[in-house]
């Protein structure tokens, strides 16, 4: 029996702020940021949205694409995020309650910077393939924080994606294999109790993102006996538009295999949602038989790579809830003062 993705759903808040608008406030040159990052604007949550509400909206959209899944059959729900609203009190329990999966379910929040939800996908795969439960749900959702004026402010965004994992006829993308690659690297962190993360500037590139994304993908190729030419699409964690394109090139992928899943230019870096939103954008357009490589990245640091093969079930299932492009285009621009209010940068 094939195991993999049974359903997927996404959510991106409606508000956007343009790079120019942020640069204007800090006296930065907008073109150098736009060019350097390959990002034009980012998604901003409303004041009443957080990682929990984004996770719920994504999960509801994923369940619409998983009609064969009955509440009692989902045995696990995990929410990966860097912005869990509570330090102690699980986001996953609230989400499970909101989508009607309680009480016979295990729930936990996972953390590994931006790859917390791909780690949870692997857990769901193990639990379902091992026969412990029929389905598991993994969700990546973030309202990314950044200190005002920091370079991160240009990209730290909000959004999420949910994946129902399991086996059987309903699988839309079979997992052919997965590999992970982890080392202790101090590239980006947030100490307990600190409001904003800190990062090691240029250090975030070579020894961190590229080392893990490239080597993890290569190790999976080796395991499966594949190479870039065997894949129709490649999706990478997208903190900006430059990093994934450079990693793709190093792995031998042409740009056109990466662009369908590269949405960071229009929504920013959605952290735990990033690679999973990219994968969703690819599933929105993929055909039966297509193969997809997805490699996430989490600072600290690690990557999870997956090789997917798309099945014929994708065609009818993807019609059942909104595609990524709907949320990308559903947007309303706000100025920096409204942004500051939404992000609660102003203390009254």
């Amino acid at each position: 029996m094939a195991f993999g993705i049974v359903g997927y759903g996404v959510y991106i808040p409606r508000w956007r702020i343009k790079i120019e608008e942020i640069a204007k406030v800090w006296g930065h040159d907008p073109d150098s940021y736009k060019k350097g990052l390959g990002v034009e604007e980012k998604a901003v949550p409303s004041m009443d949205e957080d990682a929990t509400t984004i996770a719920v909206e994504s999960a509801r959209n994923a369940l619409k694409r998983s009609k064969e899944v009955k509440p009692g059959e989902v045995g696990a729900i995990y929410v990966g995020s860097e912005s869990h609203p509570y330090a102690v009190k699980p986001t996953a329990a609230t989400v499970a309650e909101a989508i009607g999966l309680t009480p016979n379910i295990t729930a936990a929040d996972t953390e590994f910077a931006c790859k917390a939800a791909t780690a949870a996908m692997q857990a769901c795969l193990g639990l379902t393939k091992g026969g412990y439960m029929k389905y598991g749900i993994s969700i990546g959702a973030d309202t990314a924080q950044s200190a005002p004026g920091d370079a991160l402010e240009y990209t730290a965004a909000a959004g999420g994606a949910a994946y129902v994992i399991g086996g059987g006829e309903g699988v839309i993308a079979e997992v052919e294999g997965t590999h992970s690659y982890t080392q202790d690297v101090p590239d980006f962190w947030r100490r307990d109790g600190a409001q904003y993360p800190k990062h090691a500037g240029r250090f975030t590139g070579e020894p961190a993102y590229f080392e893990h994304v490239i080597n993890c993908s290569r190790a999976l190729f080796e395991k499966l006996g594949t190479s870039a030419k065997d894949y129709d699409y490649a999706v990478f964690h997208q903190p900006n538009a430059k990093f994934p394109l450079r990693a793709a090139k190093a792995l031998g992928f042409d740009e056109e295999k990466v662009l369908p899943g590269l949405i960071v230019s229009k929504v920013g870096n959605t952290y735990s949602g990033s690679s999973l939103l990219g994968l969703a954008a690819v599933l929105d357009v993929a055909r039966e038989g297509d193969r997809i490589l997805m490699t996430s990245y989490g600072s600290g640091a690690g990557s999870d790579s997956f090789s997917f093969r798309v099945t014929g079930s994708v065609e009818q299932k993807r019609r059942l809830s909104p595609p990524v492009s709907y949320y990308v285009e559903r947007r309303e621009y706000i100025d920096y003062s409204t942004y500051a209010r939404y992000q609660r940068l102003l203390k009254g």
């Binding site: 949205e49 509400t53 909206e57 609203p85 009607g100 295999k257």
Partner: protein, 149 residues
């Protein structure tokens, strides 16, 4: 540290109905109720009530723009509070989000979404539940399955 638990039991008891828009359905006369009731006011003792999850689809029955509010909701001002008539019948009071006050119209189609309702001060609990946003089914008629390459 123990804090005042004022409001927490009430918050906890109504979690399911606020999270999932769970109401009551009278199997005898077909009436629907939100918030849920134990007894159908029409059928009294002859009624038979069952739990029902509403679709979350409805229309704005009436609304008001709030420009002065209690401290807990001050941050959202100006905001819209509407009486939403659900497709299943009951009318529920809710904030309308994801649109500007001037965009709200009587009869406008709305759908339930999941949001923060209020946050207790000083690190207290966050209360979640349904609010409504304008319905948008435009995505359903899009072309999908088109390869971009």
């Amino acid at each position: 540290m123990a804090v005042s638990s004022a409001g927490i039991p009430q918050h906890w008891r109504t979690i399911k109905e606020r999270y999932r828009l769970l109401g009551a359905h009278c199997e005898r006369c077909g009436s629907n109720y939100f918030p849920p009731r134990n007894v159908c006011p029409r059928c009294r003792r002859r009624g038979k009530m069952a739990q029902v999850e509403f679709s979350g689809k409805g229309k704005v029955y009436s609304y008001t723009v709030v420009n002065a509010s209690s401290k807990a909701f001050e941050q959202y001002m100006p905001y819209v509070v509407a009486l939403v008539e659900l497709d299943e019948g009951p009318r529920v009071l809710s904030q309308i989000v994801d649109c500007k006050p001037e965009e709200v119209k009587i009869g406008m189609e709305v759908e339930a979404c999941f949001r923060k309702i209020f946050e207790q001060e000083d690190g207290g609990i966050i209360s979640y539940g349904f609010k409504f946003r304008p319905s948008d089914g435009s995505w359903a008629c899009r072309e999908t399955g088109q390869r971009s390459s």
